[in-house]
């Protein structure tokens, strides 16, 4: 046997071992209680795909042994099948942490329902990992793309997957801090940004500050003894690419903030400012994320346009004024390329463009607004202050479940304006502690989400059962 064929056989055997290990792992973990039904769907997908890989590779053994294929052709042929193996490992990795004890079960169903109302034919898997990171990632598009190049039946494994599958990560150690989870609306903004291809609309309209790039290149090249026209062109291209990359990625973040504000209203604003200020430097940025000060500036601007913030509770008015003052100050970055990106984006016409573009992408019925907020403060906040989870409203027998967004906004209102009053109803050990009162509030809000979801699920099951009788 020649070297190529020997290695091909080893390759097949090794890949089959990987596939077998995946099948065994799924067998081991698939009976765990998962908070999202999609977790089991993913595991079934992995099992089916791994089984298909194993049997496809079995038939490839003969091909590798005796076919007249050239080594390069054989390599390509095998690679079509085995290249998807790492995807399957990644998917299993994500399922870890979506078990019920690790992810708050009360949150998952309402969140799933909400995501499906925003993006049809979608599903979510929520997992908790230790890192302080909220994220949402759509995986079906990349899975379908990778599997489309594989031979059947492997290529058909994706048939059962939903159109969109969002892998949502929430930090495990604060999984019960439901108010902060409003940050997920920003992450949902990423999904909508991609779905509506907002990049195509926004980026061509944003002008990068060429003058600043030229100036920067001049500063760098001045004094260079061996500077040549070519190195200057190359440097200019490099700086332009770096700035363009920042602008592109930062616009995604800023747009996602805007979409989040449209979907979740002030709750996202309060969650973002709370979370960002707890561990981020206000002016530090990266190539992927703009400085928090710019993000807060845009969010404050939008909030003030969409809501009568000057008529809110004095605590909120003061808070928003403070953020407006701070975010209005000059952003001082360390890197000149960051500064050029900021100068390109921190302009009224650009911020207006982002606002209008994202508004067009969100249906009216999904937008949270000033009228809804007023109603939630009027109807839900008194319930919370009287130790009742605001999960449903209305006369007995005709109660209506309260929407997730309304519950979270009412929770934020109490947290920021009336936490002491809320805490006074708790046991004395919690009454004098702001942290203990906040814990009590988070749990009450989770209970409200649970009651709301029970009401919706019960009615759905009742209708289904009545249809069955017919």
């Amino acid at each position: 046997m020649d070297s190529h064929r020997l290695v091909a056989q080893l390759k097949i055997e090794s890949a089959q071992n990987r596939a077998q290990a995946l099948i065994e792992e799924v067998g081991r973990i698939k009976n765990r209680p998962y908070s999202s039904p999609a977790s089991k769907d993913i595991l079934e997908f992995v099992q089916e795909a791994a089984t298909a890989i194993r049997s496809l590779l079995e038939s490839e053994k003969t091909v590798a042994d005796a076919s007249p294929l050239m080594p390069a052709e054989l390599e390509v042929r095998l690679h079509r099948t085995i290249k998807v193996i790492p995807y399957l490992h990644t998917l299993i990795g994500f399922i870890e942490g979506s078990e019920i004890p690790k992810s708050p079960g009360q949150l998952i169903q309402p969140l799933r329902r909400y995501v499906r109302s925003v993006i049809m034919n979608s599903d979510i898997v929520v997992s908790s990992k230790p890192e302080l990171n909220y994220s949402i990632r759509e995986v079906v598009a990349s899975i379908r793309k990778a599997f489309s190049e594989t031979p059947p039946p492997l290529s058909q494994s994706c048939a059962k997957l939903p159109d969109f599958l969002f892998l949502v990560n929430i930090p495990a150690i604060e999984s019960e801090q439901i108010l902060i989870h409003a940050i997920l609306s920003h992450e949902l903004g990423h999904a909508l940004y991609n779905k509506h291809d907002l990049e195509k609309r926004l980026l061509p309209a944003i002008k990068i500050r060429d003058k600043m790039i030229r100036h920067l290149v001049n500063v760098i090249t001045t004094g260079e003894t061996e500077s040549s026209p070519m190195s200057e062109i190359w440097l200019r291209q490099y700086v332009t690419d770096q700035v363009t990359e920042r602008v592109s990625r930062w616009v995604t973040e800023l747009s996602s903030d805007m979409i989040g504000i449209q979907l979740f209203g002030p709750a996202l604003y309060f969650a973002s400012t709370t979370l960002l200020s707890s561990f981020s430097h206000i002016d530090r940025c990266s190539s992927s994320h703009p400085p928090p000060r710019l993000r807060i500036k845009l969010m404050t601007r939008m909030l003030k346009k969409a809501y009568t913030t000057d008529k809110w509770h004095s605590n909120l008015t003061e808070l928003i004024k403070a953020w407006a003052d701070i975010s209005g100050e000059t952003i001082a970055t360390r890197q000149p390329m960051d500064q050029i990106a900021i100068e390109s984006l921190d302009r009224d016409d650009v911020l207006d463009l982002i606002e209008t573009s994202v508004s067009d992408a969100i249906p009216e019925e999904l937008r949270y607004n000033s009228t809804k907020l007023d109603a939630d403060v009027r109807d839900l906040v008194p319930l919370i202050l009287n130790s009742v989870p605001p999960g449903e409203l209305g006369p007995m027998g005709r109660e209506k479940p309260i929407e997730l967004v309304s519950i979270i906004n009412a929770g934020w209102y109490v947290y920021l304006c009336q936490l002491a009053e809320f805490g006074a109803r708790l046991h004395e050990s919690a009454a004098n502690s702001r942290l203990a009162a906040a814990t009590g509030l988070h749990r009450l809000i989770l209970k409200a989400l649970e009651i709301s979801d029970i009401r919706i699920s019960w009615e759905e099951a009742k209708r289904d059962s009545e249809r069955g009788k017919d």
Partner: protein, 216 residues
């Protein structure tokens, strides 16, 4: 005086304007089935949270032990069973469950909770700390035990207990009660509360010469 189902229904349908006088039971998923005319209670359903004893983690529960608080934290593992799913309770197994409903009592009502006899006949004992005081607000913890011989499937949403409500004679000057340790509990996890007079009990042991017993 124990309130009739009709009276409970009218209190829930037409709540008084003062929030402190309001009775809240949420959600009541089927008014006709949970408040049967002619009865004197409202049926409560099994909730979605369970706390299971971790036998493998603990050798004993001893409230006099200095490590009691730590042991109690190790003692139970929380699990969430969504509607449609089930929890299997094996013979002689004990679990803390909860009512699906959030209960808030006004200042002029007290209550007691008992398991429904239909479950008792299957060997399921739902012994709760049955008295509920005025002003209580929270879910009710159900101490569920299978004393039968056969495993029992528990489905959240099952009607499992009954809440009897009684009017409370109040003094002319209303006293705002101190919130209890179980106020606003949202799951059976609850709080770890020291037994009252525990120091006196400890002293008994010392005075009667039995303090040398090992109490860890």
């Amino acid at each position: 005086m124990i309130l009739s189902a009709e009276k409970i229904k009218s209190l829930l349908e037409s709540p008084p304007s003062d929030p402190l006088d309001r009775l809240v039971i949420s959600p009541v998923l089927d008014v006709a089935k949970q408040l049967k005319p002619g009865t004197a209670s409202i049926d409560l359903r099994l909730g979605q949270h369970f706390y299971v004893a971790m036998r493998t983690k603990l050798s004993e529960l001893n409230r006099l032990s200095e490590h009691h608080q730590v042991n109690m934290q190790r003692y139970k593992d929380e699990t969430f069973v969504p509607l449609g799913d089930y929890f299997v309770l094996h013979p002689r197994q004990f679990v803390l469950g909860e009512t699906l409903e959030w209960i808030r009592l006004p200042r002029n009502l007290a209550a007691f909770v008992v398991g429904r006899s239909t479950w008792g006949r299957d060997g399921l004992i739902i012994a709760t700390a049955i008295g509920v005081h005025p002003h209580f607000s929270g879910i009710l913890t159900l101490e569920i035990s299978n004393v039968g011989e056969i495993p029992i499937y528990l489905y959240p949403g099952f009607s499992i207990a009954q809440l009897f409500l009684m009017s409370v004679e109040t003094a002319k000057t209303l006293v705002e009660p101190t919130p209890s340790a179980f106020q606003m509990q949202t799951s059976p996890r609850g709080r770890i509360v020291d037994v009252e007079d525990i120091d006196i009990i400890r002293s008994f042991r010392k005075l009667r010469g039995i303090a040398h017993d090992k109490v860890e």
